[in-house]
Symmetry: C2
Subunit: 143 residues, 2 copies
């Protein structure tokens, strides 16, 4: 299995730790799908259209769980697993939003106009709703 990427751990720079996560094309995509698209399962991510390979997905999910950004639970189904964002994970919402807005402004994306508009015109409200949605979903599943 691929080893932890330690090369991003730098001495005393304010965003060093974040780059353990962000210095990788896949992790943020997983977080985004979890946060904005309601995806929760291994297969959701695997077929999300980005074309991640299963072994890479396994590794990144484990890494994110390891970093305390995701929790892994058994679904009611008992055969399946469900991944959920932790508080630390949902706290990435502002970063994601800024990133999405930047991408939308500077590159061609076919992001849903509706969502972009909501993000741009009332960022605080948008973020509040993301958090509320997260809390609600979370409280519906007994830990």
């Amino acid at each position: 299995m691929p080893r932890r990427v330690d090369s991003a751990r730098r001495s005393g720079c304010p965003i060093s730790i974040a780059l353990e996560l962000l210095g990788d094309p896949w992790s943020l995509l997983i977080v985004r799908d979890l946060m904005f698209k309601g995806m929760t399962s291994f297969l959701d991510f695997l077929n999300a259209g980005e074309g991640i390979a299963s072994n890479i997905l396994t590794d990144r999910l484990a890494r994110l769980v390891d970093a305390g950004m995701l929790e892994k639970h058994r679904a009611k189904d008992r055969r399946r697993f469900v991944y959920r964002l932790t508080a630390k994970g949902i706290a990435l919402a502002p970063v994601l939003v800024e990133l999405i807005l930047w991408s939308d402004a500077h590159e061609e994306t076919d992001a849903p106009r509706q969502t972009i508009k909501a993000m741009r015109e009332n960022r605080a409200e948008f973020l509040r709703r993301v958090r509320i949605k997260w809390k609600t979903e979370r409280s519906h599943r007994p830990g």
Copy 2:
């Protein structure tokens, strides 16, 4: 020379393009050093303490210039080069700020408390100053 990382180019996801950049541990560090630390030269980045290798630095600088986030100019010195953020590059400031705040909140960093405080307590003003500083520096050098 290392080839462009195309694996991050995904179909129609709102942050796909950004990940060409961000899906790499080094690019954001360079942008940050440029934006917040006043570093401008090859050697600045090379000795920034993060331990990037010269060949990797060369590649990342070229990539960032290529992506339209950096401009490369000859310094008054004529032996040296100076790298500057473009408008597209400076537009990443909100992303960086959110990232830094997230890292500060969720991991141990020794980021300067003063700066973090300024970012957190008055984000808009902080960003405004970053942009003003950028414009000022830029106008001092005839293109």
